[in-house]
Symmetry: C2
Subunit: 543 residues, 2 copies
């Protein structure tokens, strides 16, 4: 049998945890993903470190909280010198490859300070968040300066799809009765088929690219991050996926009137934003959700293609396979659209880990409810490849104890943490908050979810009695709720005060320095006799 030596890390974009049949969706059948779950471990409490693409991904790719890496919103560059999973893997001879989306923005100013050419090998690696870009594609190719010439567009053109920007004009548009372009940017057209042959649409294309990479990769170990750009908006999917689901498959929105009149300024400002008002409309949900489900169904079918292809080549023997997402999608729940806040549909993600090692045989098909964070994957991968633990850099916890059913660590984490910086959001403008104060932090323990809102009262949900998070107890006068809030605030304080940037020395290096001075340095010795008493040798023989 071949030795485990690769990782295929598949990430969907904006996939809610509960829109897969293995996670309980009653109408959306995802047998291929479910089969992966049957061969691996499925985590039911996996949280991203920020409920928005950029910071969530920067956390996943660095193994660090957003307050540590500092790229706290989309388009905020990840600082040069922030160690990435790619850095750790290259160090031990593993190729870290990206096929698809990262949402990385390069820190060009930092590179300038360090004299690094962005076009050099190292400059490209820094610009790609430590990955080797087999194919980088963030999925948005509108006209305008945003990602003007993606390889995907060229591939469409080579396959005969016409236009200067075939993504915009075909993959992201439907055709009207007279051939006119009906843009996928508009929710009204989400029920129409994208005007591109299914096999040329984004998900099958990127799946093929991952298979091409694996075919070319040779024997050296690799981590391939296959990062789909769907089911993220624009919500439009080619036939036959565009009309697989109808009104009868749409689950009712999870929301309460009381939420709509919340007195929480931040929640209220989000609810009142244009996007959320849009998703509060039934017609929007009725057009968007079937398309969203179709996009997921397409991913599942492509997972079938991919996993079958891997099976045929024996890659299940050598490859850890992870399926997850970068955050969810409210889809109108809680009167919200998009993501941004910390309700379960937004901040919880599916996470399935198939581990080829025999130590995982006992856990195949099992489900774990421990609090898991997206930043746990980086240390899990590093350990899988035989790399050193780096707890001074990687703030997550390796999942091996759960994957291998070893005695549960005496102390698994008590809290999952997620952060959100709404400095750039219209909600911040609406409430007139200062940029640097526009901060939210979620702490979730086994029962409670606490959301600290800088400058405002917190939000609090009891997931035991209120699993749908409809009753905000952040202002409750009940003593038990006040006690929970106080306990959570203490925990937040402890977490905030921790070292988040003491990354240049390992615990072993610090231990080796402890209680010692550099050679030749003597502090506070009175005379030769004191020296001899301390070191057991004559002063004259000191270094």
């Amino acid at each position: 049998m071949s030795k485990p030596k690769n990782v295929l890390w598949i990430m969907a974009d904006q996939l809610r945890f509960d829109y897969l049949s293995c996670y309980g969706h009653p109408h959306l059948h995802t047998p291929n993903i479910d089969r992966l779950a049957a061969r691996g471990v499925r985590f039911t409490n996996a949280y991203v470190q920020s409920p928005i693409c950029g910071p969530s991904r920067m956390s996943s790719y660095t193994g660090r909280y957003t307050r540590s890496h500092g790229a706290t919103w989309n388009g905020f560059p990840l600082r040069v010198g922030e160690p990435t999973l790619g850095d750790h893997l290259r160090e031990i001879g593993v190729r870290p490859v990206i096929v698809g989306k990262t949402h990385m923005v390069a820190d060009t100013k930092g590179m300038e300070w360090l004299g690094i050419d962005p076009g050099s090998t190292i400059g490209i690696s820094i610009s790609e968040c430590g990955f080797e870009p087999y194919e980088r594609d963030d999925g948005m190719h509108p006209y305008g300066p945003y990602d003007p010439d993606p390889a995907y567009n060229r591939a469409l053109q080579e396959a005969g799809v016409e236009g200067d920007n075939p993504w915009e004009e075909h993959a992201n548009s439907a055709a009207g009765d007279d051939g006119e372009r009906l843009s996928g940017w508009l929710l009204k057209y989400a029920n129409l088929p994208a005007d591109v042959p299914e096999e040329l649409s984004e998900t099958p294309y990127m799946t093929r690219r991952a298979m091409q990479f694996m075919e070319e990769a040779g024997d050296a170990p690799w981590l391939c991050h296959l990062s789909f750009i769907k089911p993220h908006w624009p919500y439009i999917v080619p036939a036959p996926y565009h009309d697989m689901y109808g009104p009868e498959h749409i689950l009712p929105p999870v929301r309460a009137e009381a939420e709509k009149v919340t007195d929480h300024p931040v929640f209220r400002a989000f609810i009142e934003s244009r996007i959320c008002r849009s998703f509060a409309r039934d017609e929007v949900r009725e057009r968007v959700i079937p398309a969203y489900m179709g996009l997921i169904k397409q991913i599942d079918d492509q997972m079938g293609v991919l996993l079958g292809w891997m099976e045929e080549r024996g890659l299940f023997e050598t490859t850890m396979i992870v399926f997850t997402s970068d955050h969810g999608d409210y889809l109108g729940d809680h009167w919200m659209g998009e993501k941004d806040l910390f309700h379960e549909p937004s901040v919880k993600v599916p996470l399935i880990v198939y581990d080829p090692r025999p130590e995982a045989d006992d856990t195949r098909g099992t489900v774990r409810s421990e609090l898991v964070e997206a930043i746990d994957l980086a240390p899990t991968f590093l350990s899988y490849f035989g790399g050193p633990a780096k707890p001074h850099i990687l703030e997550g916890r390796g999942l091996e104890p759960l994957l291998h059913n070893r005695a549960k660590p005496a102390e698994w984490r008590q809290y999952a943490v997620s952060e959100y910086d709404y400095a750039t959001r219209p909600a911040r403008q609406a409430i007139g908050n200062a940029q640097e104060e526009a901060r939210l932090v979620m702490l979730r323990d086994g029962r409670w979810k606490y959301v600290h809102a800088e400058g405002f009262r917190p939000m609090l949900f009891d997931l035991q009695t209120d699993p749908d998070e409809l009753h905000d107890l952040g202002a409750s006068r009940a003593p038990e709720h006040a006690a929970v809030r106080a306990r959570m605030m203490v925990a937040l304080g402890r977490w905030s005060r921790r070292h988040h940037n003491r990354i240049t020395l390992s615990p072993e290096q610090i231990e080796a320095m402890t209680g010692k001075e550099p050679p030749g340095i003597l502090i506070g010795f009175w005379d030769e006799a004191e020296y001899e008493a301390e070191f057991g040798k004559p002063f004259a023989e000191r270094p």
Copy 2:
């Protein structure tokens, strides 16, 4: 009149705030430093960001708290990519030059990740904390691998001082009656003269080097960081400074029996360390303090030489001159030796700023008692040179409003903050604490000093009723003290939760992104009409 365009930033090493006559020392007359104070502003509440060389300096050189830059103890490398004052100055055409000590340790692993050759121009800059090393000298040149071949040793040899390591054998030794070496590492010999001609000892040497730099510098603007290695131990000084002060000049130790039996585990562990037990002995204080005073007197005399030389050349018209220190020295106060904790003799430093600009004419010779932090200097310098404010990176506050007597900012800082990581200290071993928990944070407001000790009770001092900090109120049951502690803990929480690493975008850049999506991106629009209503133009004309 010439235009202000240079900064001379003079730092003494381990100089207590109160061992200068302008700060009230009754026996140690420092007329030259006092004259600088008479021409500038003298700050009486200036605090370093960590009471130990390395992290204090890394804070001064980056303008950032130690929790932000992560180099939390001596020998902890400053991470590559941490922006330094040097980076900010080079960007606006100012040469940042070091003459003397920085305590910088290069992040060789970070450079390896980024493919930077430590010997390249940029690699040297990174290794020197952003400075151009006109002469780097951290002042310790014992035998052994520590700084084996300093230019200072070579200069001594050229001047005829003999030996393989003339610093160790002469500048840091006295000669016994039979010519034997009596090492400056041993406190017992602190009363003897260093066996080196005074003009060749460290302080005059480094002063001359700064003058050489200024002479060679030409017309381009510069910041010269003249960083003396004294009065830091080894406590030994050449004649005539070795016997200028006697027992009659030694102030009694500031300490109380109650401190010695403190129940605070961290304070107790420090007091019980070998170094502190040493400084609790009268014979140690009586030998060390006169030498310490002699080293300061020598600095003052050299300041006279330097400032006179600058005056002759008109450099007072073009040069901001700052005199400060990196932390203090307990000298037996509070039963402590060295520094490390947060009593005033350790964490407070002298700070004198001479500003050549006419706007400062009204403040010459004034004294300010506002809470000032060492990290305030970096933004002060950047502003002086006409550079942009960078509040997303620089965590200090520019001192111009105080230097120019402009209306006091509506809200100057309420708290000065200092941090200490005792992970490597014997005290940590003594109390059996975990490396990552060995953290202290001081918050000082106008009246109170609060020291948070992770995992232990805090310490609290009322500087109004107890300016000598002899009564620790950290466990006091008085309601007023409990209320102060609670208030300080809230302030610590706010400070800890702040962004400390969101450094890649300026407030202006974030403001420009606020409420906008990247060109071509549309989220949550139902149809063309909604687009037109929002943007006031037809959907077909979108970018």
